[in-house]
């Protein structure tokens, strides 16, 4: 199966990238931008596979394609922030390995999953490498947008930008049906409410708990009536997001741990395996530390996701009279009644409050305080 099949509804970008992999318009640094969930890192990974692929097409069958997609290829480095940012030390060592010639592949490839999370120092370290890349090195950076707040202009100006679009709901539904074997009705529903986030669509389609948490968050705007509801709802939102994050982390952590344990020989049976067991435990402990710092990030991300859901609700209320496509079509009744009750000005103020809360979280405000402030503003209108 071709590696490009992993990308949902990104035909224009795939055309550009596969042409580059075949040798047309290749360059040393690429910037993948697009809304969350559109598949920036998937695109970067697939592109890396196609660049290393034996047939230069991203066949998905050759050893190069398979190892790139599995994240084990010797000449493809994948960096993602474990905490909330990528440090300069991490970037420096990366730039050093990036300077090497490929050992088995055609290129030495570095994928930076969240280039918007580079610290300023890290950006500068990367800039030097992007400015004068070694002959066989390719940088693939992923960021939500090419806005200077996300990616330094000096880096941006040295990259070829590939913009991913919000994948059409039809394409998402098709993938859910074909790849994940989800029944059509549920797939269509999940695709219509996920806001173009493919991973979230799959979660909503497969995970009952995720569905009910989304429903709870979307209950906030209409049920928020009295001032003393504020704390209850702020609490609800945070608990929902935390539960989401815990579920998400647990799913990943367990799989990683099991894999590492096998690799380090932690669960062999038989005589003389004690030494390996100890080494495995040490490695697993180190992994747990990394997972813990990643969990902080997952929690932030899932609060953000809940806030986006909320913001989209207000956006729907605002645009409802114009008849535009809704992001929460399954809540049309509530949206209609809210549109009738609230003045556009007050809806807009509420929308602003949600966006301010997202910004506050970016600036490291304690989530509970930021969310309480937001819910207060939502209640006031």
């Amino acid at each position: 199966m071709s590696v490009w099949r992993q990308l949902v509804g990104q035909e224009p970008a795939v055309a550009v990238l596969s042409a580059a992999a075949a040798g047309e318009g290749m360059t040393h640094s690429w910037l993948f931008t697009g809304p969350p969930g559109s598949g920036r890192t998937v695109a970067a990974r697939a592109f890396a596979a196609a660049l290393q692929c034996e047939s230069r097409t991203g066949c998905g069958e050759c050893a190069h394609c398979r190892t790139v997609m599995a994240g084990t290829h010797a000449d493809v480095r994948f960096v993602e922030p474990e905490g909330l940012s990528i440090s300069v030390a991490e970037m420096r060592s990366l730039v050093q390995t990036a300077a090497r010639r490929p050992s088995t592949g055609r290129w030495q490839i570095v994928i930076v999953a969240d280039a918007d999370r580079l610290t300023e120092g890290a950006s500068n370290a990367l800039l030097k490498a992007v400015e004068e890349p070694p002959a066989r090195t390719v940088f693939l950076l992923c960021a939500p947008s090419d806005h200077p707040e996300d990616v330094m202009v000096t880096i941006r100006s040295r990259c070829r930008v590939v913009t991913l679009r919000t994948p059409p709901a039809d394409a998402i539904a098709r993938v859910l049906i074909e790849r994940d074997g989800i029944d059509e009705e549920r797939a269509r529903w999940a695709a219509s409410v996920c806001g173009g986030h493919v991973g979230r669509a799959r979660r909503l389609a497969t995970d009952e708990a995720a569905r009910s948490r989304r429903a709870e968050v979307l209950r906030i705007p209409v049920s928020l009536r009295r001032p003393d509801d504020v704390f209850a709802f702020a609490d609800l939102l945070i608990t929902a997001a935390e539960a989401d994050a815990v579920a998400e982390s647990a799913r990943r952590d367990e799989a990683e741990e099991a894999e590492l344990r096998i690799a380090m020989g932690g669960d062999g049976t038989g005589r003389g395996t004690a030494g390996a067991k100890r080494a495995a435990e040490a490695a697993v402990n180190q992994l747990r530390k990394r997972q813990k710092s990643r969990a902080t990030r997952t929690q932030r991300d899932s609060i953000d996701l809940a806030l986006v859901d909320l913001a989209n609700f207000y956006r729907d209320v605002l645009v409802y009279p114009t008849g535009a496509t809704l992001t929460h079509p399954d809540h049309e009744d509530q949206i209609r009644s809210a549109a009738e009750r609230w003045s556009p000005e007050s809806t807009l103020r509420r929308l602003e409050a949600v966006l301010e809360c997202r910004e506050a979280l970016q600036l490291n405000v304690k989530p509970r305080i930021a969310v309480e402030a937001m819910v207060t503003a939502l209640a006031r209108g």
Binding site: A70, P134, G265, G272
Partner: protein, 377 residues
């Protein structure tokens, strides 16, 4: 996969490969060793391989192959198991997602990892020449002492290998000292010159284990010169080269000297070890040369101090020169002979240590350059 191998061969092979595996693999599959029976070369052998993106190690072991195949298992666990096996033939069979190891009455069952996820091993680079394994191991050890341990200066963590016809030169420096070894070897036809920088640790490890086997070591360099290959009988390893400029060291080597001392290496090293006990880490040991004697001193007024005097042959003006005791010891202990020559000009210019043969002549091929430490006051 269904094969039978000799216990000792298997244990040696797995132990050697497992040694180069990372203790904290960045991706889990790198903690595994790949067992490939009747693989691409199809010579009825089992190959055991490990790879951590930097260094790859492959050993072939003769085996009776009933059914070929590949399997990836934890290297650490397999090494522990094979080490403990009784001395009987070992049967390895793959059954679904587990691999069974039977040896005598002992039976083991190990989980496997997906072979498709295992990175491709780099190809063995093109043959450029061969040399005696023992001499090679010794030479690398003599040079590696001077290599830097600081990863932020990658060019100093390597050993430079220079091929110039029949001469092979190895150099390493960490800015404070420099070790150089020159010897003859047998280059392959058509190989005239090349210079590469090899991570010192990787080269030292490979040279030690290949040199211990006592046979000929074959050197290979990949066309892009990004890879160095070393192989002994049945064992192959590759290591990625450092892509950095080595300092132009030849012009640093002093061509003249005004003072020359002949040292009895065992006596001097013993004395330095004793005296430097009071020199806090990284501080200096002072060498006071006068005609016929060397006084070693370390420490100062506010801490402990120590002195020791030994007879030496010394030509030159009386002088006091100070060195980092560890660096000085490294140089002296790396020498192949018991007599050494220390030459220098002034206490702030580099000194040279060279081995002397039984007749008191400089034994060509090795030198250790050492920067003195500034004297207080």
């Amino acid at each position: 996969m269904k094969i039978r191998v000799e216990r000792d061969n298997l244990a040696d092979a797995v132990a050697w490969v497992a040694k180069s595996l990372p203790t904290r693999p960045s991706v889990p599959v790198l903690g595994g060793v790949l067992l490939d029976a009747g693989g691409d070369d199809g010579d009825g052998a089992l190959t055991v391989s490990g790879f951590d993106y930097e260094v790859s190690a492959t050993v072939s072991v003769s085996a009776t192959i009933a059914e070929g195949g590949k399997v990836l298992v934890s290297g650490r666990l397999l090494a522990d198991i094979t080490k403990a096996l009784p001395d009987q033939p070992v049967d390895i069979t793959v059954d679904g997602a587990r691999v069974g190891i039977t040896c005598g009455n002992a039976r083991f069952s190990l989980p496997t990892m997906p072979v498709e996820d295992y990175p491709q091993l780099p190809a063995q680079p093109q043959f450029v020449g061969e040399l005696d394994g023992h001499a090679f191991g010794e030479a690398v050890a003599q040079v590696a002492v001077a290599s830097g341990k600081d990863d932020t200066l990658p060019m100093l963590t390597g050993i430079r290998l220079e091929i110039s016809g029949e001469t092979l030169t190895m150099v390493a420096t960490d800015r404070f000292r420099l070790a150089l070894k020159e010897f003859t070897w047998k280059p392959a036809d058509g190989v005239t010159g090349a210079a590469v920088l090899v991570p010192a640790k990787n080269l030292a490890d490979a040279a030690r284990s290949l040199g211990a086997a006592g046979s000929t070591v074959r050197l290979g360099l990949s066309s892009g010169e990004g890879m160095l290959g070393l192989s002994g009988p049945d064992r192959h390893t590759t290591t990625r080269l450092l892509d950095a400029e080595f300092p132009p060291y030849r012009k640093l080597l002093p061509s003249q000297y005004t003072s020359r001392a002949v040292l009895d290496v065992p006596a001097v090293t013993e004395a330095i070890r004793r005296v430097s006990l009071v020199a806090e880490r990284g501080t200096q040991v002072r060498l006071e040369f006068t005609e016929g004697s060397l006084r070693l001193a370390a420490g100062g007024d506010d801490e402990g101090s120590a002195e020791e005097e030994l007879p030496v042959t010394y030509e030159g003006e009386p002088v006091v020169i100070a060195f980092n005791p560890n660096y000085l010891l490294d140089g002296l202990t790396a020498l192949p002979t018991d007599q050494a020559e220390l030459t220098f000009t002034t206490p702030n210019r580099p000194a040279l240590i060279k081995p002397l043969d039984d007749e008191g002549k400089v034994a060509a091929g090795y030198l250790y350059l050492l920067m003195p430490v500034r004297l207080p006051g």
